[in-house]
């Protein structure tokens, strides 16, 4: 049963990811990204990371994809043509595909990931455990993240102001 759910979810996620890559229209691509994120949230649920699945839906599917759609609407763009290979891109693609294939082969043949069932105590479902970790072990990263978000916000404000050129006095 669990295996069936995993197979269904992974095929769905991969198909939607291919949809992001192959769709001509940027809006269709964003919609495929949304479905792909929903599939990944399903996989998170299967891994008992309920809170992360919730946050993924909330932050990614809710905010990020909506932001993408806003920008597509604002710029009124076409998707542009896909699949037009260029010289350096083809070489890079072949090398990257070969490296990834070698890595996967090594993982499948020699990897000792521990084929057993997941370890007993379920962490992902407990918000209390997350909070305890975040405010004890990871307190410094949390503070740094706060500063990062502040800097990103200021950066977006600066970037989104119209840059006044020399012939454009304001």
């Amino acid at each position: 049963m669990e295996q069936l759910a995993f197979t269904t979810l992974s095929v769905f996620t991969l198909a939607c990811a291919l949809g992001v890559v192959l769709s001509k229209n940027a809006v269709n691509g964003a919609m495929c990204l949304l479905l792909c994120l929903a599939g990944i949230a399903g996989l998170f649920v299967q891994l008992h990371a309920y809170l992360l699945a919730f946050i993924l839906i909330l932050v990614y599917a809710g905010a990020v994809v909506a932001l993408f759609l806003f920008i597509v609407m604002l710029l009124d763009m076409q998707g542009g043509q896909a699949w037009r290979p260029r010289g350096a891109g083809v070489v890079a693609g072949v090398v990257a595909a070969a490296l990834l294939a070698i890595g996967l082969d090594l993982l499948a043949v020699r990897g000792r990931l521990g084929g057993g069932p997941p370890v007993g105590h379920v962490v992902g479902s407990s918000l209390k455990l997350y909070a305890y970790q975040l405010f004890t072990t990871y307190l410094l990263p949390v503070q740094v993240m706060g500063f990062l978000l502040l800097i990103a916000m200021l950066g977006v404000i600066v970037l989104s102001r119209r840059v006044a050129g020399p012939e454009d006095p304001r």
Partner: protein, 101 residues
């Protein structure tokens, strides 16, 4: 019967490869950006799977931070794309070649 850790890692690698393919073949900056997000999410899937199968919570907490950074990154990146569009009236990467000249 539950799926093994290998299955999750393979799926994560496949998703990463699909995102990478998108970055290589697409010309539209916005679609390239979506494919980058796909690669990031593939990495989080591997982290959550390792965390679950090893019984630790560090991977899960790390995914927290990845999601935060991704949100900030999307905001700044899209602002850059909009500024680029204002300056050049295009977001197709093969038209943005002033550094080549």
């Amino acid at each position: 019967m539950t799926p093994h850790l290998e299955a999750y890692v393979m799926l994560s690698a496949a998703l990463f490869a699909v995102g990478f393919l998108g970055v290589l073949v697409r010309r539209n900056t916005l679609v390239i950006y979506m494919c980058l997000e796909l690669m990031l999410v593939a990495a989080t899937l591997a982290l959550v799977a390792f965390s679950r199968f090893n019984g630790t919570e560090d991977g899960d907490v790390f995914v927290f931070f990845i999601l935060t950074v991704a949100a900030a990154e999307v905001a700044v990146g899209l602002a850059i794309i909009v500024a680029l569009f204002r300056a050049r009236q295009t977001v197709q990467v093969d038209k943005l070649d002033s550094l080549k000249r």
